[in-house]
């Protein structure tokens, strides 16, 4: 078997036993680590295979707030690299890699993870963004089953591996006791980070950042001191230029509630303003804030007794200043066409916030909001057509 053929067989197996079950939210079987060079085998042949595309055709977006007929396109090479990096990140939790003779492998695999993540380009279409988001979220939802089997003489531990039948044979005679625990990836990575210098959580965060929709929908996915704070990247604002995805992000963040995210978003907005963004980028971000404010106002309106958020920290005041500045703008709120016109409530809400904002935050917000405009007509239509 030539090397090329070997790679194709490996790639086919990776598709069949890892990628497809992952896309279908089923249990997956990890394969040998994916090197950056090996990913070229994906796009060379396998992902174009008819069987693969036929199966993939059945996969739909599982997000409840996107159009139900949105079909996920097959993952591109960049997404496959990102999923390959995630595959390797999961492989690193294998305790057998910590044995004598195998320890070097961890360092090599880590290098591959970094290279795969670094070489992942941002998604270019709405479909690619959703595909990447679906795969990344399902990858992060994977869990490991650890089984401990005790008989009258021995104790066997199978961490993430299938239990051979002979271990549990003759259970009454050998007094076999089986106990199992389910562990999620976050805890596995955190535990390894404590005992090794692999920094898996930071790499997992970097992986999520390469999926901009996931990053926007879950800004608090990896809390920790070493994790850099949430930032609006060019890729994430590109996602916000799509009305469907922007609406999804705005609803999701509004559902989280303003209070838990205000500090993070205020910090991100301050950083965004410091980079002197173009009017287009400002426009899309401010539109997100306007929609988010609208959904939040609806939540407040529909749940009597819902406490109004009061900014406390400096970054929360910055965020409040942005919300307040948006409501002062001429037509930001007029974009909330699909809402039940909560503008009156928003006025009251932002007036309430404006009294708790200092002048510095107001100036910062005004400098961004005032310059936010589209340079050449709305681009949403183009984005929708592109998908």
């Amino acid at each position: 078997m030539s090397a090329n053929k070997q790679d194709r067989v490996r790639a086919q197996r990776w598709f069949d036993e890892f990628l497809m079950p992952l896309a279908q939210a089923q249990s997956v079987c990890l394969q040998r680590p994916i090197s950056p060079f090996f990913t070229s085998a994906f796009d060379a042949s396998c992902h174009e295979a008819e069987s693969f595309l036929a199966q993939w055709h059945e996969i739909r977006v599982r997000q409840p707030r996107v159009p139900p007929n949105l079909r996920l396109p097959a993952p591109g090479a960049a997404t496959l690299r990102l999923v390959g990096a995630g595959h390797n990140l999961i492989s690193l939790t294998d305790s057998s890699l910590g044995r004598m003779g195998s320890r070097r492998a961890r360092g090599v695999i880590m290098t591959w993870v970094d290279e795969l993540i670094d070489s992942t380009t941002p998604p270019r279409t709405r479909g690619e963004t959703f595909t990447r988001h679906e795969l990344v979220t399902r990858l992060l939802a994977l869990k490991r089953k650890d089984t401990v089997i005790k008989n009258w003489a021995y104790t066997y531990r199978f961490r993430g591996r299938r239990v051979p039948g002979n271990v549990t044979a003759l259970p009454k005679l050998r007094r076999v006791r089986v106990s199992s625990t389910i562990r999620d990836l976050g805890s596995l990575w955190t535990e390894l980070d404590r005992t090794t210098a692999l920094e898996l959580t930071e790499r997992a965060h970097a992986l999520v950042v390469r999926s901009p929709l996931t990053h926007l929908l879950h800004p608090n996915l990896f809390p920790g001191e070493k994790i850099p704070p949430f930032r609006f990247t060019w890729a994430s604002i590109a996602v916000l230029s799509d009305p469907t995805m922007r609406s999804l992000v705005a609803r999701t963040l509004a559902d989280y509630g303003i209070a838990p995210l205000a500090d993070q978003l205020g910090r991100a907005l301050e950083s965004f303003a410091a980079h002197r963004p173009s009017p287009n980028l400002r426009y899309y971000l401010m539109t997100l804030l306007a929609e988010m404010l609208g959904y939040y106002a609806l939540t407040v309106e529909r749940t009597p007794g819902h406490p109004w958020w009061i900014p406390k920290t400096r970054h929360e005041r910055v965020f409040a200043a942005f919300l307040s500045a948006i409501s002062d703008g001429p037509d930001w709120l007029s974009r909330l066409v699909e809402l039940d016109d909560p503008r009156q409530l928003i006025r009251r809400l932002t007036t309430h916030l404006a009294t708790r904002v200092d002048d510095a935050a107001k100036r910062l917000a005004s400098s961004v909001v005032d310059g936010a405009r589209l340079s050449s007509g709305p681009a949403e239509d183009k984005r929708e057509n592109a998908s």
Binding site: L30, S40, P64, L97, I109, T121, E128, L140, K143
Partner: protein, 544 residues
């Protein structure tokens, strides 16, 4: 043991002494850590305490003062007073008074005490030879040296409190600003009414004497009266069962006409801050461990007798008072021309006994977390019967069935319908509830709370002098809501997200992962070459 010459004079700049524990102070005076005054008898010691306390403060010496009975090998007993010798100035004052009453003054630190300086040796003395005798203390004088053993200590407070006051040699000053009066329970009514008749401002409390007996003494009354007319004072002094004391400091009283041998003002630390000791001439002192709670005497008599205020000498008294007048003699009284003030402000004044029901409480915002905890523990019925108003700084809680379930805040009792005063307080002058309702407008559709100016006043006896007109607070009846409705947070259902990453594959079975089979060399056969660049890959293979 007696030698004719045992001391030598200390000279200026002498730094080495044979006496252990002494040295020159800044002035060159030989001084040890303590001073000792030797008295031949208890009489001398008492005279010294009396003389010293009248000129200096005994409180300075008391913390480290010791009195010991000492005994010589020949069984001669003497008294030794040990005081701290912080400076030669203090020792000079001690020595001056001690020599006047025949005491011998020494200085030293632990065991050897040498005679303190006198006019013959201005810088003090040093011993020629130190006596090496097993003794508790050795005193070196210019005429003798003597070893002593400690026999027993004498307690200074016990000594001072057991001293009987002696008759005053000078005529007593009959105008006392303030006096203490002890009254037996049987004379309570007549005495109070008599004081009221003459408009004496007095406060009354009840006390029991400190006793070591199992059967306690019957409680007595203690009155604190100010500006008592002279004839009333004479009457009380002459009445059996009544003792009149002039205050000495805050914690002592000496019966009028007597004087304590020691100046009690200079030894105030012997008594607890709120204690009181009353010295009686020819009888034991009265020890009151803690001053009782006082209340104006106006509240201790009935409403009829209260009407006597300001009507002294008009003769409209009941039979009891006539009897008192008969026993006390004629009542000179004030002039009929003295017109009572027309506008009498209502005052909130403490009262000694309060058995009124507590129907309201005012809780400050500082206690709101505690209040919340209490609410969690309360049964449903209690929560329903409790009504609450939240003002800017306080919770007003009202429960006609009793507010004892909320052990917080300042409790109030209902003096008149919907008019409340703090528990332990009353309004003065005492007026009928119906009249009070008429006087306080707005009590028909609101609740009136008379709040003390400071909650601490309730525990501070000195505050009785500070009672002043109080402006009541009115809370509209409509503002009260049941506790359940007012305080409990409204339920705001929180929408649970269903698309969190962990829930994406919420259907069963869980999306598990399994590792590949174990390999001895995990990377064997894999290509570890450099990766293809991202741009190259994406341009080649991106299907979009």
């Amino acid at each position: 043991m007696v030698k004719s010459l045992v001391l030598e004079r200390a000279i200026l700049h002498q730094t080495r002494f044979r006496t252990p524990g002494v040295g020159p102070d800044a002035r060159g005076v030989v001084l040890g850590g303590r001073g000792a005054v030797l008295f031949a008898s208890l009489d001398g010691l008492v005279r010294f305490l009396g003389a010293y306390s009248h000129e200096e403060s005994l409180d300075e010496l008391i913390p480290a003062l010791e009195i010991r009975q000492i005994i010589t090998p020949l069984k001669t007993r003497e008294l030794l007073l040990l005081v701290p010798a912080e400076s030669s100035y203090r020792m000079d004052r001690v020595a001056g008074h001690a020599r006047l009453v025949g005491g011998l003054v020494f200085t030293g630190t632990s065991r050897h005490f040498v005679q303190y300086r006198d006019w013959k040796s201005p810088l003090g003395y040093d011993v020629q030879d130190v006596v090496d005798t097993p003794a508790d203390i050795v005193l070196y004088s210019d005429s003798f040296q003597q070893a002593y053993s400690f026999e027993r200590p004498l307690d200074l407070p016990q000594l001072i409190f057991s001293l009987a006051p002696r008759l005053e040699t000078q005529p007593a000053d009959s105008s006392y600003e303030r006096i203490w009066i002890t009254v037996h329970q049987g004379l309570r009514g007549p005495c109070l009414r008599h004081l009221l008749r003459f408009g004496v401002r007095a406060r009354i409390g009840e006390f029991s004497r400190s006793t070591r007996e199992l059967v306690a003494h019957e409680s007595e009354l203690l009155l604190e009266a100010s500006r008592v007319p002279e004839h009333v004072l004479e009457l009380f002094r002459a009445l059996p069962g009544v003792d009149v004391f002039r205050p000495v400091g805050d914690n002592y009283g000496v019966e009028i006409g007597y004087q304590h041998p020691v100046a009690l003002e200079s030894c105030s630390t012997l008594v607890a801050q709120d204690g009181l000791i009353l010295f009686r001439g020819g009888a034991d002192a009265i020890h009151i461990e803690r001053k009782p709670s006082f209340a104006p005497i106006q509240h201790m008599v009935g409403a009829k007798q209260n009407s006597l205020i300001g009507k002294v000498g008009l003769g409209d008294t009941d039979g009891t008072d006539d009897a008192l007048s008969a026993s006390f003699g004629p009542t000179p009284g004030r002039s009929r021309d003295a017109e009572p003030s027309v506008a009498i402000p209502l005052k909130l004044t403490p009262r000694a006994h309060s058995n009124q029901r507590r129907v309201a409480t005012i809780i400050s915002f500082e206690q709101r977390s505690l209040f919340a905890r209490v609410l969690y523990l309360m049964p449903q019925k209690a929560l329903e019967s409790m009504r609450v108003v939240i003002s800017d700084e306080q919770f007003f809680v009202l429960d006609e069935s009793g507010i004892e379930g909320v052990p917080l805040g300042q409790f109030y009792s209902e003096l008149a319908p919907q008019i409340y005063v703090p528990v332990g307080y009353s309004l003065a002058p005492a007026i009928e509830p119906s009249l009070l309702q008429e006087l306080v407008p707005g009590s028909q559709d609101g609740h009136i709370f008379f709040q003390p100016e400071d909650h601490d006043l309730a525990h501070d006896d000195s505050a009785h002098h500070k009672s002043s007109p109080h402006q009541p607070v009115r809370v509209a009846d409509d503002a009260f809501e049941t506790c359940s409705r007012m305080l409990l947070q409204r339920l705001a259902p929180h929408t649970i997200r269903t698309d969190a990453p962990g829930d994406l594959a919420s259907g069963s079975p869980l999306p598990l992962f399994e590792y590949d089979r174990e390999r001895r060399f995990p990377l064997w056969g894999l290509d570890e070459d450099a990766p293809v660049s991202a741009e190259e890959t994406s341009t080649k293979s991106d299907p979009s």
